[in-house]
């Protein structure tokens, strides 16, 4: 501390002097070092100019069908760009040019000026996010008149250029739109996850475009520009051409795909004409022997061109609007529906394999069965008397399956009472057929539904999670609902859920046996399950992609579907079921109705489904397979076709005629859409790519 009697001034001044002297000495020593001693002096290695790079985005690869016909190709578009450097060098900083251009593009000049100014912390959006020296695109897909006006009066538009860029193009319109997906502008998040991405690139964000993005994206080219030290372009340097992405060959067959979509759209129209809501539908065609998917149709669909060059918010809103049927949703793969009677394949497998019924005895098919005091009826309360499983499948009797599955439930309850674990055979068989697990198709994980079923464990877990809500709703009694009867029903339901919502009941098991209750599957999952019926029990992780072909036309990768699982069902039961559902049995098989009298009736088999949906019309289902042939005495088929129409009535009335039109095409009754009526087994030859110069 300072001596209080002595002013601190001289010492303090000394501190200041010391600070000043040390700063000046430091500077001098550093200067001496930099100029005379430093052995590693920096040199101007860039010469007088340095290089800047303008990225030339690579055209995306093509997607073609199983016979090499294009599903997604590239087209060229005119883009008007503005070179800000050139404008800045003009006496008015390009104001006049921008004003003329603004009139031509029908936009405001100040907006254009903002758009071409490079972004910086002081320049808010809209601004140019690319390199400061790169030309800024101001109009994509410019009309020819505008392009001509600029090209013919070059002197009026210095710094304005017309460039050619490639954009995706869809030669078949909306065909397979949901499967193909779309590409979109790179976002900051994309760049964070992959540093090789550039602002000029596009990235697949849905469907095959997303799943195979790395293959389809290609390698960007670059244009070198010589920049002076201030960062202004002096001249152009060399360039590296962009490499287009590889071609993806899919197993989609354009002919079947088109036929399926047309037939689906016609069925929607027909069902609506018959007074049904028919809000949407789906068709899936699959090769049960290879696991390749041949066609995927979903209605309503959309025009993928909407996404080219960026989709407007209004258009995107329309594509995701539930009241418009959510066209972006791929109902065939991402939709989950109660499968109805088509589920009886799984129920039959479970009951027979666990000896709860056998294939020779007869069991009763009454008009109704009472389970735990609740009456469950057949469709239209039909009474068929004592029948075998063969007829129960063919006529699609529900009550036939209620009793054994309710019995299975009671057996399990007895096991639980003895302190043992429930077998839940039906649930285990459903899981073996793939219900409750995403099918593992080569599409983004978010675009494939897993389906669902109820069992004791999930019921209890859900009750634990929601009990508080149920009880509260039971107490409050839905004061918002106007209708007294509805209010009373919902309140009673909530009260029951509050106390007994954990309970899995015999009725739940009976519901599941006919694909109702909480059982849901996507059309693709049904196609996979029925493929197992026809291929000896293999559950495919199916594929859409077949091969990747490089620019030279060489196959660089073949995509093989994998067998994900095998269902624990003996071949003799498969044979029994296929023969029970053979359309050759005529009126004894409900799925055959639309096919009776057709040339190929004896070569097909199928199962209908009519699934009740609370508060809505019935979902119409039909699963068919064919043309059938014998291999080592077992029934095999070249195709499995699944058809589904929402709110359209019974399986025989909507899905039946819908798939009939597809079979007519495949089996050549009208016009053969596919040679030899079998899935293509040889990869198509893909011609080497023609170099597309984008600049």
């Amino acid at each position: 501390m300072a001596d209080p009697r002595r002013p601190p001034t001289p010492r303090r001044l000394g501190i200041i002097v010391a600070l000043v002297v040390s700063m000046m000495l430091t500077l001098f020593v550093r200067l001496y070092y930099v100029q005379l001693i430093d052995p590693h002096k920096p040199t101007q290695n860039a010469g007088l100019l340095h290089d800047g790079y303008i990225v030339v985005p690579a055209p995306r690869g093509l997607i073609v069908d199983a016979r090499g016909r294009p599903l997604v190709t590239n087209t060229t578009a005119q883009v008007i760009t503005v070179d800000r450097d050139l404008l800045q060098q003009r006496s008015d900083h390009g104001r006049a040019v921008l004003a003329r251009l603004a009139v031509l593009l029908n936009r405001s000049a100040s907006e254009l000026a903002k758009e071409i100014t490079p972004c910086s912390p002081k320049v808010p959006a809209p601004c140019w996010t690319g390199e400061p020296f790169a030309p800024v695109p101001v109009a994509t897909n410019a009309p020819t008149a505008t392009v001509l006006a600029i090209s013919e009066h070059r002197e009026q538009y210095p710094g304005v250029a017309v460039q050619t860029v490639t954009l995706p193009s869809y030669p078949n319109g909306s065909l397979a739109a949901q499967i193909l997906g779309y590409a979109s502008q790179i976002t900051t998040a994309d760049k964070k996850s992959n540093s090789a991405l550039n602002d000029a690139d596009s990235i697949g964000v849905s469907g095959l475009e997303e799943q195979y993005d790395a293959i389809l994206r290609g390698v960007d080219g670059k244009q070198i520009v010589k920049l002076n030290p201030q960062g202004y372009t002096v001249k152009l340097g060399g360039s590296v051409a962009a490499q287009q992405g590889n071609t993806l060959v899919t197993s989609i067959d354009l002919g079947i795909q088109r036929l399926a979509e047309q037939s689906l759209a016609k069925q929607i129209a027909d069902s609506r004409a018959a007074g049904k809501p028919a809000t949407g539908g789906a068709v899936v065609a699959m090769d049960p022997n290879t696991g390749r998917i041949l066609a995927v149709a979903s209605y309503p669909t959309y025009d993928p061109e909407l996404f080219v060059g960026g989709i407007t918010n209004a258009n995107y809103g329309a594509l995701t609007d539930p009241s418009a049927g959510t066209p972006l949703l791929n109902r065939a793969i991402a939709g989950a529906y109660a499968p109805g009677s088509t589920f009886k394949l799984i129920t039959s497998s479970s009951l027979v394999m666990h000896d709860e019924i056998n294939t020779t005895s007869s069991y009763s098919c009454p008009g109704s069965v009472t389970i735990d005091g609740r009456v469950k009826t057949n469709f239209d309360s039909e009474v068929l008397g004592d029948i075998t499983l063969r007829d129960a499948l063919g006529y699609s009797c529900d009550t036939f399956f209620y009793q054994p599955t309710a019995d299975e439930y009671y057996t399990d309850q007895a096991r639980i009472d003895r302190g043992q674990k429930a077998h839940e055979y039906l649930q285990r068989m459903a899981a073996a057929y793939g219900v409750g697990t995403a099918p593992g198709v080569d599409l983004p994980a978010g675009e494939q539904a897993a389906g669902s079923y109820a069992d004791r464990e999930t019921r209890l877990a859900r009750w634990k999670a929601n009990r508080a809500t149920y009880c509260e709703e039971g107490r409050k009694g839905y004061p918002d609902i106007a209708d007294a009867a509805d209010r009373a029903y919902l309140t009673a339901l909530a009260k029951e859920n509050c106390t007994d919502g954990w309970r899995y009941r015999a009725g739940d098991n009976a519901d599941m046996s006919i694909g109702q209750g909480e059982t849901t599957m996507s059309p693709l999952q049904l196609a996979i399950a029925y493929s197992a019926l026809l291929n000896g029990g293999r559950i495919w992780a199916p594929t859409l992609g077949w091969a990747v072909v490089d620019a030279k036309g060489k196959v660089v990768q073949t995509i093989q579907p994998k067998v994900r699982d095998r269902v624990p069902v003996r071949q003799s039961l498969f044979d029994y079921i296929t023969s029970a559902l053979d359309f050759g049995r005529g009126w004894s098989v409900s799925g055959a109705f639309a096919y009776i009298g057709s040339k190929y009736q004896n070569r097909l088999g199928g199962k209908t489904g009519t699934a009740e949906v609370f508060g809505k019309g019935d979902t119409s289902w039909l699963v068919t397979w064919g043309p059938t042939y014998k291999q080592h005495g077992h029934t095999r088929a070249k195709f499995v076709l699944v058809g589904m129409v929402e709110q359209a009535g019974t399986g025989a009335t909507a899905a039946g005629p819908m798939l009939k039109r597809v079979w007519d095409g495949i089996l050549g009754t009208n016009r053969p859409v596919i040679p030899h009526a079998r899935p293509e087994s040889v990869l198509p030859k893909i011609a080497p790519q023609v170099k597309v110069m984008t600049r």
Binding site: I16, V20, M23, T26, L27, F28, Q35, L48
Partner: protein
């Protein structure tokens, strides 16, 4: 008209707050004037060399015009009665503060910092330069209020807290612009005044520790996001920095490193002539000296600054309490700003935009510095009488 002390020879006449004419030359510290003028003239040559190829002589003429105005301001300031600091301190402080506030709605943005007020006729004013002056004078006045305790009494805690409050407002406004360089210079000048005023070591050392800790913290937090650190180094001017944050410094370094002992000769520096160093006539003026005049010429500039500070501190030594604080504050200002500027040319300090006093092109800084030199003269002459 401001009321001032009376001239003893005209007992009942109010005089303007300036020295009588006959005393105009007497008592000037001539070396101080010569040093400042020498730096300014060297600056003129360097500005010319830096801008010759792109803009011809226009920057040289404007630098000389600025020099002329600055000279007049210096003479005017030197004729102020140093005893009137008490009166002028608050006025300069408040006027500069008003200027800083005015920048917020009416300022123009140059190189990323909203720090200028456009005056018309191509002239622009940078209030933060004058704030350095205002704050130094303001604090000097604050710390010498208590004549009854003796001029040299160390400031009380209350004074120091008040002074820090006085600093905080303009400092915050400058950081908002954002002008990190000016803020750092302001901080150092204030620190010098505090030390000189005899503030207890717990305050001076405490502030030093806080400052260093704050800087480390800022950089550490910046490290979390790469762009923040890069923005710190290219804080002043992101637009002229297309090749990364280090471009300015790298180019200046190349220029200086190849100057050698005697330099490439005036107008013969390849780096300078090809315009590789952005902002070379202002913040990177020292790189011209380094390339074209070599160690001899660039070292001379450092020596001249050393001498300038020596003369300033000599004046401080002989002055009364308030005037001494002003003198020390001015010396700290010049010394640190020179250190900061030359340091960033040499890669010692981060690139933050501060001009090299007297040498760099730029009106506001030169005017403020000229007034400061004038104040030093006034202090000096007051000490002689």
């Amino acid at each position: 008209m401001t009321l001032t002390a009376r001239d003893p020879r005209a007992a009942f006449v109010l005089t303007p707050p300036v020295m009588p004419l006959e005393r105009r030359v007497r008592g000037y510290d001539r070396p101080l004037v010569v040093l400042a003028l020498a730096l300014s003239l060297i600056g003129g040559l360097l500005v010319w060399a830096a801008t010759r190829s792109a803009s011809g002589e226009s920057f040289l003429y404007r630098h000389l015009l600025n020099l002329g105005i600055a000279a007049a301001l210096m003479v005017a300031a030197s004729r102020l009665d140093a005893r009137l600091l008490r009166l002028f301190g608050p006025i300069v402080y408040l006027a500069s503060l008003f200027g800083l506030l005015l920048v917020i709605p009416a300022g123009t943005t140059v190189n990323g910092a909203k720090a200028w007020i456009r005056l018309g006729g191509g002239f622009e004013l940078q209030p933060s330069e004058f704030m350095k002056l205002g704050l130094i004078v303001g604090m000097a006045v604050l710390f010498t209020r208590h004549d009854d305790r003796g001029d040299d009494a160390p400031p009380s805690t209350r004074d120091i807290v008040l002074a820090l409050g006085l600093v905080a407002v303009p400092l915050a406004l400058i950081m908002l612009q954002p002008d990190l360089g000016s803020a750092m210079v302001l901080g150092c000048a204030v620190f010098g005044v505090l030390v000189m005023a005899g503030a207890p070591a717990r305050w001076t050392l405490g502030l030093l520790v806080c400052g260093v800790a704050g800087a480390i913290l800022a950089v550490r937090l910046g490290v979390l996001h790469d762009y923040q650190l890069a923005r710190f180094t290219s804080f002043r001017d992101p637009n002229h920095d297309p090749l990364g944050a280090a471009y300015n410094y790298n180019q200046a370094h190349i220029a200086i490193a190849h100057g050698g002992l005697f330099g490439k000769g005036l107008f013969h520096g390849p780096q300078t002539n090809s315009g590789f160093v952005p902002e070379q006539q202002t913040d990177f003026i020292f790189s011209v000296a380094g390339e074209e005049f070599g160690l001899v010429g660039a070292g001379l500039i450092i020596v001249l600054f050393g001498l300038l500070c020596w003369r300033g501190l000599r004046i401080a030594r002989d002055a009364d309490a308030a005037a001494r604080l002003v003198a020390v504050g001015v010396v700290c200002w010049f010394a640190f700003q020179a250190f900061q500027n030359i340091g960033m040319n040499l890669g010692l300090t981060p690139v933050t935009g501060v001009p090299l006093p007297f040498v760099s092109y730029g009106g506001s800084s030169m005017f403020a510095q000229a007034i400061a030199i004038g104040l030093l003269q006034a202090v000096h002459r007051r000490s002689l009488t």
